[in-house]
């Protein structure tokens, strides 16, 4: 089984063409990106607002608990029967999976920002909007990106099941293989989707680290600024 799978992967002709690995990989990434993007547009503003105002925390917990129990395969098959085949039903099911981690990341990121920092920002005369966008969001970045990481992992894993309702993606190898009892091909799908999940997770773990305030892209590099900070912030 494993040997068959490795032989399949080693054969360059299996990587190209309209049903080749590269196309399946691209489809898988496409569905996942679309679902995480829609989920982010829906969930992140709500999460930021809940974190900023401190109102509606029960809502975040409630959504997370409900969706954790929601079987994606059931939601996908039900939506296909009700709405017909196409991209929409699986994408809706994937968006449902992406929302709780994104919501929780945005909410916990903002609500965990040091209250003294937020109060200091207000005392400078920042408007609520400025407090949120210039103080809370940058400080919440690691947890916010962590939410994107969690959502991506869930969605990439579950997008495999989307092939059951006649979509493309890496799940195709698993379902096509099962249909003709070609377990080598099933293994190809399992290995590829595992590698993709591990690679994306490692990449996003780096993004979480890079998003820490004062790290990565946000790092202050100008030595004069650093010296000035040291001079003013002597303890």
């Amino acid at each position: 089984m494993l040997a068959d799978a490795l032989a399949f992967l080693a054969d360059g002709s299996n990587w190209v063409g309209p049903t080749g690995i590269l196309v399946r990989l691209w489809q898988h990434l496409g569905y996942s990106a679309l679902a995480v993007l829609i989920g982010a547009v829906l969930a992140i503003p709500v999460g930021l607002l809940i974190g900023h105002t401190g109102r509606g925390e029960g809502f975040v917990v409630g959504i997370a608990n409900t969706v954790r129990a929601l079987p994606s395969l059931g939601l996908m098959t039900l939506l296909v029967l009700l709405m017909g085949t196409g991209l929409l039903p699986p994408i809706i099911a994937l968006v449902a999976l992406a929302i709780p981690p994104l919501l929780a990341g945005a909410y916990s990121g903002v609500s965990n920002v040091d209250r003294a920092t937020v109060d200091a920002a207000r005392s400078f005369g920042m408007t609520e909007n400025q407090v949120l966008m210039r103080v809370e969001v940058p400080n919440a970045a690691p947890l916010l990106v962590g939410g994107v990481r969690g959502a991506t992992l869930q969605v990439v894993s579950t997008a495999t099941i989307a092939a059951f309702v006649n979509l493309g993606g890496l799940g195709r190898y698993i379902f096509d293989g099962l249909a003709v009892r070609d377990y080598g091909r099933v293994m190809v799908g399992a290995l590829l989707v595992t590698l993709l999940a591990l690679a994306l997770d490692a990449l996003l773990a780096r993004a979480v680290r890079a998003s820490r305030p004062g790290a990565g892209l946000n790092r202050v590099r100008d030595s004069r600024v650093l010296a000035e900070i040291d001079r003013r912030a002597q303890v």
Binding site: L2, R68, G74, S157, T160, Y183, M187, A190, T194, L198
Partner: protein, 239 residues
């Protein structure tokens, strides 16, 4: 009522429910039973601990359907053997629980442990009588998450023919019968809700000291009397 698919096919639904309970409960229990000794064994060793935490994170990253296919290839079972599902879900459960065990052990206050050592608890005795009971609230919360996740994940096995209630999804999909699928979704979410409440209640029952109700206070009073502290308290009160 009798028009409902679930009512007309109650035998099928109950049989699938029984199977679903077995397939979700066994990994949840095994996950906890395996994670506890692993967590306790590595918590004082930085290298082993880092290794276990990383391994758990990687295991949890493997997509469920992929793991369901990889497990039989490794242990040599048939791809439609339910044991694959039990093993795959146990792997996830252990991965999630090991972190919970380590975090909950870290959260036990050092003062409490010093006090326990000071009154004569040592080694294993302290671990069993002091450390572990104090981790119960966090562990119960972790176990709730794991149990609910397992209930939902069992249904993924349906695409391989071993998904218990999840088979209502594949069968309903093939027959173009939405009500059958809806039955499966509702049953799974109900089962998850039952697990969630049940584990929360067990966690509460095991930690009487976390609430100041009559039961806990009575127990404390009895303990105080047994240890002779009750007399001391009365003396203090009298003064």
């Amino acid at each position: 009522m009798s028009d409902l698919w679930a009512v007309r096919n109650i035998d099928v639904v109950l049989e699938l429910l029984r199977e679903h309970i077995y397939l979700s409960l066994v990994p949840t229990v095994l996950g906890l039973l395996l994670a506890l000794p692993i967590g306790l064994a590595v918590r004082e060793h930085r290298r082993a601990r880092a290794l276990v935490v990383t391994g758990a994170a990687i295991a949890f990253t493997i997509p469920s359907l992929a793991l369901l296919v990889i497990v039989p290839a490794i242990i040599g079972t048939s791809i439609i053997d339910p044991i694959n599902l039990v093993i795959a879900l146990t792997v996830y459960s252990v991965s999630l629980q090991v972190r919970t065990v380590l975090e909950s052990l870290d959260a036990v206050s050092p003062q409490v442990l010093e006090a326990a050592t000071a009154v004569g608890f040592s080694g294993t005795k302290r671990t069993v009588l002091v450390d572990l009971p104090l981790t119960i609230p966090v562990l119960a919360a972790g176990t709730r998450v794991v149990a609910v996740t397992n209930v939902a994940l069992v249904s993924v096995g349906a695409v391989l023919g071993v998904g218990a209630l999840g088979e209502l999804f594949t069968r309903g999909y093939q027959r173009d019968y939405p009500e059958q699928i809806l039955t499966g979704i509702v049953m799974i979410m109900l089962l998850a809700a039952v697990y969630d409440r049940a584990i929360a209640l067990i966690g509460r029952a095991l930690t009487p000291w976390t609430r100041a109700d009559g039961g806990g206070r009575r127990r404390m009073a009895r303990l105080a009397k047994q240890t002779g502290l009750g007399q001391l308290e009365e003396d203090v009160d009298a003064r």
